[in-house]
Structures are given as structure tokens and as C-alpha cells.
């Protein structure tokens, strides 16, 4: 028999792939689930699966550079005496001091202020640096209530009641002991160096009826002056948004599964919640059904990366978007210039997600004073401002091409979808057709 008979080539299993098998071996060796930062890494239908239908004969565009295209947004017009006025519809999402270094928080505040938008506290309370460098600061009201106090509450420009986040809807947070230094421990009233757990639900209310009373209390404490947002992780967006409105929210923030976290179980990040794209239309429908679309503003977050994403989210009905991971990247997170450091940590630039360990070479997700000093908050703020400006310009460019003189005038009719999944989720036609799955009257 000849020795040159062709052999079957080795075939890797799509089900038991190398990464899957590596995780099985890691779990078997350690007995501990994998914890990491960031949002879902798996491919899910996203804004890339949508395209804009630029103007042609049936619609005419605005001149790309000379004709005005507004970007301002007002959040909290329903009940608050002092709604939040922003120059651009891109806000900075809540990220805690503790998860992030003080320098990173300062940089976020500086960049947001330069760009004319808001930034947001996180689990762990409000730092003087953050308040001082943020013209418009949203104060998160979280289940843990770490650092919560009425003085800071009254310093806030808005309050965001966090029910959940896209990376882990239904789950609590954690901040591992490596990042609980003296200052973080003091702010959170915890022993230094412990693995801090954040509860998955609020300690003093359960359900929408209670939430309504909690919002009343917060309004009474703050004199009905500032808007109250309610943030939910995207799971059942129609009902959650409707209930948030019923409870009295001025603004609803919905965070898809691509939205990041400082640390949680990988299995949670990848398997709980729905994509951002799938959450917007049900959320908007809830607002429309209640007659409050645009009166109660909708902020969408989770995987927003560029002006096209901003424009697409707004075309689907959002009033504004929020960014977290992208803002960190703008500051320097996962920058290839730190490749040697990433290699030393067993990873590579672009894939680094062990934010909970506190060894971030970019000095962002750390409390190590040496690493944190790598981030210049002034330069970081400038970079974030630049990035926000580019996103805004990109969104304006698209809006003008679709014939709109304000980003808020973008509409679903400006969009088509590249895939059946995206068409179904966004409820816009598959490119080149007038049909999407589930379209009323289509029979499918």
C-alpha cells in the first residue's frame, strides 16, 4: 500500500474549540469561574448590520459642511426643575472610582466637560476630583449605596437609579481586593483588601411600585430640582421601560449586553441579556404606547463606538447615547504601545480584560499609584474631547446626508438592514426590499 494516501486533515471542533477547551481546563484546574471586565465579546447583531439610505431623488440632503445640523439634547424635561442641557447627545456612562483610578475619573470629567456633555459616577460614590472637573455630573444611586450621602446627592446635576446594567442584568458587582486600597476602603466603609461584593438588588425597595416611592423620596430630598434617570440592563426592554416610566423616571437608560462592567463572571457577560440593537425598538414602543416618547428621554448604551452608531441609535428612537468602554479606549485602554506589558500579563493589546486585577498598564482600571500615574488626566481629557468631537461630526455628516438639520430628526426610515436578524431587531427593511421579519401585514 502506498504511503502517499491522502489523510483526513485535522479538524477542530466548532463546538469544542480551542478557547472552549482552554476554559474547561482552566476551570478544572482552579475550581473558580472566570471573572473579567468589559462587555460581551461574542458576535451579536449590532449597528454594523444597519446602513443609512442617503438622500437622492426622493429626498434631498443638506450641504455637508455649511448647513447647520443640531446636536444638543435636553434630558429630564418631565418633572425636574433643572433639566440637563447637553451640547452633544453622547454621554459618559457610570464607572466607579475604585474600578477606575482617580486620574481616569478626572480625565473623563475633563473630556466630557470640554465636549459639552455629562459624565457619571459609579459604585463607590462621588469624588471631589470628579465633581470638580465635571460641569455636568450624574450621580448613580446603586444597590450597594457605597459612599451614598445626601450632600453629594444634592451636588449632582441628575440622579441615575441603577436597576441593572447590560453586562450583568440581574447580577451584582464585585471589586476584588487588589483594588481596595485605603481610600477606596474608606469611601465604601469596608476593610482594606477584601473582595467587595455589590448587591444585585436595592436594599430598600423591590418592584415598580416601591421604585415609584423611592423616586419620590429622592425628589423630596433634592427638592424636585434634578432629573431622575432609571438605568436597566437590556432584557425585557418594553416592560422595563414602561415600568420605569410608570415609576416616574424622567429619563430611561437602557444598556445592551455589549456594555461593559469592571468585573463579573464571563458566563454572565456572554449569556445574560440581549444585544443593544434588539433593545431599542421595544423601548421606544413602550414610550410611544404611553405617549411619552421624547417627553421621557431614552439613552442607549452598549457597544457605541463611532458617529455611525450614534446616528443609528438615534434614528431608531434614542434621544442620546452613552459610552463607557469606548471612552476608556480613547484614554488609552488596550493601547498597543503597552504591548510588552500586556504580554507580561499573558494577554495582548485589544484583548486585555482583567480589569479587576488592578494591573492595567494604561493606568485606567487600577489603584496602583505607579500605574495610575501613567495616565495624564489633562491629556486624557483632551483625547476624550477629540474623540467625542469626531463622533459628533460623523453623526452630523450622516444626518445631513439623510436630509436632517438635527440629529433628533433621524428616523427609522433612514435605515435598512444587511441581515435578517438585524432587520427583525431594528424593524427596518432588509436592504433592497420593503420587508422585515415580523412586519405588520406581511404575514411573516
Amino acid at each position: 500500500m502506498s504511503n502517499d494516501i491522502p489523510r483526513t486533515v485535522p479538524i477542530q471542533s466548532a463546538t469544542f474549540s480551542n478557547p472552549v477547551n482552554a476554559e474547561i481546563r482552566r476551570a478544572a484546574a482552579t475550581g473558580i469561574y472566570d471573572i473579567r471586565g468589559g462587555g460581551a465579546k461574542r458576535h451579536v447583531p449590532h449597528f454594523d448590520d444597519l446602513l443609512f439610505l442617503g438622500a437622492s431623488v426622493s429626498r434631498y440632503p443638506l450641504e455637508g459642511y455649511r448647513e447647520a445640523c443640531g446636536t444638543g439634547v435636553t434630558l429630564g424635561t418631565r418633572f425636574a426643575q433643572n433639566p440637563v442641557e447637553l451640547e452633544i447627545p453622547i454621554t459618559i456612562a457610570g464607572m466607579s472610582f475604585g474600578a477606575l483610578s482617580a486620574q481616569a475619573k478626572e480625565a473623563l470629567g475633563r473630556g466630557a466637560t470640554l465636549a459639552g456633555t455629562s459624565t457619571t459616577t459609579g459604585d463607590g460614590g462621588m469624588t471631589p476630583e470628579e465633581r470638580g472637573h465635571s460641569k455636568t455630573l450624574v450621580y448613580q444611586y446603586l444597590p450597594s449605596r457605597y459612599g451614598m450621602n445626601p450632600d453629594d446627592l444634592r451636588k449632582a446635576d441628575a440622579i441615575e437609579v441603577v436597576v441593572g446594567q447590560g453586562a450583568k442584568p440581574g447580577g451584582g458587582g464585585m471589586l476584588l481586593g487588589q483594588k481596595i486600597d485605603d481610600r477606596v476602603a474608606e469611601m465604601r466603609t469596608l476593610p482594606k483588601g477584601i473582595d467587595q461584593r455589590s448587591a444585585c438588588r436595592h436594599p430598600d425597595w423591590t418592584g415598580p411600585d416601591d421604585l415609584e416611592i423611592k423616586i419620590l423620596e429622592l425628589r423630596e430630598i433634592t427638592g424636585w430640582k434634578v432629573p431622575i434617570y432609571v438605568k436597566v440592563g437590556a432584557t425585557r426592554p418594553y416592560y422595563d421601560v414602561a415600568l420605569a416610566v410608570k415609576a416616574g423616571a424622567d429619563v430611561v437608560v437602557i444598556d445592551g449586553m455589549q456594555g461593559g462592567t469592571a468585573a463579573t463572571q464571563d458566563v454572565f457577560i456572554e449569556h445574560v441579556g440581549i444585544p443593544t440593537l434588539a433593545s431599542i425598538r421595544p423601548a421606544v414602543k413602550a414610550l410611544q404606547d404611553l405617549g411619552v416618547h421624547r417627553e421621557v428621554q431614552l439613552v442607549v448604551s452598549g457597544g457605541i463606538r463611532n458617529g455611525a452608531d450614534v446616528a443609528k441609535a438615534m434614528a431608531l428612537g434614542a434621544d442620546a447615547v452613552s459610552i463607557g468602554t469606548a471612552a476608556m479606549v480613547a484614554l488609552g485602554d488596550n493601547d498597543p504601545k503597552y504591548e510588552d506589558d500586556y504580554q507580561a500579563l499573558g494577554t495582548t493589546a485589544g484583548a486585555y480584560d482583567d480589569w479587576h486585577e488592578g494591573n492595567d498598564p494604561a493606568g485606567i482600571t487600577t489603584q496602583d499609584p505607579v500605574l495610575a500615574a501613567r495616565l495624564d488626566p489633562i491629556e486624557g481629557g483632551r483625547r476624550l474631547r477629540n474623540y467625542l468631537s469626531v463622533m459628533t461630526l460623523e453623526a452630523q455628516t450622516i444626518a445631513r446626508a439623510c436630509g436632517h438639520n438635527h440629529l433628533h430628526n433621524l428616523e427609522p426610515e433612514d435605515l435598512c438592514a444587511l441581515t435578517m436578524e438585524a432587520a427583525a431587531m431594528a424593524q427596518v427593511p432588509l436592504a433592497g426590499t420593503d420587508w422585515y421579519p415580523g412586519k405588520p401585514g406581511s404575514g411573516y
Partner: protein, 225 residues
């Protein structure tokens, strides 16, 4: 003594009038009549003022209190004195769930019984309950002291951090990582002070002390549930 009728003048006016006193040292006590179980009564106060609520309240009475002494001549709904920073809240009757939740300071006295999750996530508040408390009390308690002159329900002190728990009666069960600890002289001294301030005639030596075993402080798979 200023008397405010909630039924006539509304909640917003009452809280706003008390907020106007922030930064002052008021001479006269205030009384609120006709509370009718309203929510968010006397929340966010920040002055050393005495406020009496003549009746029972709904949710969050005395929430986020600073400095004020609030006495409720009745029972209270969920979340009384939630996130209190300082001052005193005294409830003559019973308290519903989450009494003193996440409180950072001050003293909460409940002359009757408290329902479940009393002192949940407490962060420095002192709570004295003359009667019994319900299940899951002091869950994730971080700091402060919970004194129970009666009995405690299931899962007392579950996932406790550094809050100190004292119970005179029975404990139906202890929560994860909560254990009985030795009562030392400094604890008897602490108890004597709190009981006196809470107008209780219970004797410190009648109590047992509970605290964290600290086995959940750093993740260990053998302690996972």
C-alpha cells in the same frame, strides 16, 4: 411650636420648610399632624431640630437624616431612616422592612418590632430594637451596631462584614459567615450606652454577640453557595 398639617399643606411644603432650616440651630420643635401613612416624611433634614410625627408613616420616614431628632408617635413603613448619616430617629410603634437600611450613622430606636432585613447593608448606624426582628436582618452589614432586645429571625447577619450584632432572645438561624462571638467588656460598655440612649431597661449581660467569621472576605470556592 410650629405645627404642620400634612393633609392640609402637603408633603412638599413640609419637607421644604424643614430643608430651609439647614445650617441653622432651630429653637423650637416641630410637629407634623395627620401624616396618614404618607411616604418620604421628614427626609433629607440637615439641622439639629426636634420633629414629632403624630401618627404612622409610610416608606422612608427620616430617610438620609442628618442631625435631626425625629420621633414617630406611631408605626413606620419600609425603609425608616434609610441611609441616615447622623441624628436620631425614634419609632414608638413597629417598623416594616429595611429599617435603617444602609445607614451611615446616627441612632435608630424602634420601641416595637422590626420586620425583615432590619439594618440591611448598614454602614455605621446604630439600631436598637426593643422587640423582635425579622429574617435576613443585617444582611451584608458593613459597620455599626444592631441591638435586638427580643428575638431574631432566620439568617441573621448573612454575608456580614464588620457590623456588630447583639441579641437578647433567640436567633432562629445565623446567615452565611455569621457566628457567635465572645462578649468582652468593651462590648458590654457599648451595649450599656446604646440601651440607655434607646430608653431600654434591658441589661447588657443578657445579650449574646454575633459577628463575621470573615471567611467570605476573599473568594474561596469552598465557601461558594
Amino acid at each position: 411650636m410650629p405645627t404642620y398639617d400634612l393633609e392640609v399643606n402637603g408633603l412638599r411644603g413640609f419637607n421644604a420648610a424643614l430643608h430651609e432650616l439647614a445650617g441653622t440651630t432651630p429653637n423650637e420643635p416641630w410637629e407634623l399632624v395627620n401624616p396618614k401613612g404618607s411616604h418620604a416624611i421628614a427626609v433629607g433634614l440637615d439641622a439639629p431640630i426636634d420633629v414629632t410625627v403624630a401618627g404612622s408613616t409610610g416608606y422612608y420616614c427620616g430617610g438620609m437624616n442628618k442631625q435631626a431628632t425625629i420621633r414617630v408617635a406611631g408605626s413606620v413603613g419600609p425603609g425608616v431612616a434609610e441611609n441616615m448619616m447622623s441624628g436620631t430617629v425614634i419609632v414608638e410603634g413597629d417598623a416594616s422592612q429595611y429599617a435603617g437600611a444602609t445607614g451611615h450613622g446616627g441612632l435608630l430606636v424602634i420601641k416595637g418590632n422590626a420586620s425583615s432585613r432590619c439594618g440591611i447593608s448598614m454602614k455605621g448606624i446604630d439600631i436598637v430594637v426593643h422587640g423582635n426582628i425579622g429574617h435576613m436582618s443585617a444582611f451584608m452589614g458593613q459597620a455599626g451596631t444592631l441591638v435586638v432586645c427580643g428575638d431574631a429571625g432566620d439568617a441573621l447577619g448573612d454575608s456580614l462584614y464588620e457590623a456588630r450584632l447583639f441579641v437578647r432572645g433567640s436567633v432562629k438561624s445565623l446567615g452565611a459567615d455569621c457566628i457567635e462571638k465572645e462578649m468582652r467588656p468593651e462590648h458590654l460598655e457599648l451595649l450599656a450606652d446604646l440601651l440607655a440612649r434607646a430608653e431600654s431597661d434591658a441589661r447588657p449581660e443578657e445579650f449574646r454577640r454575633y459577628g463575621s467569621a470573615r471567611k467570605l472576605y476573599n473568594f474561596n470556592i469552598d465557601n461558594a453557595y
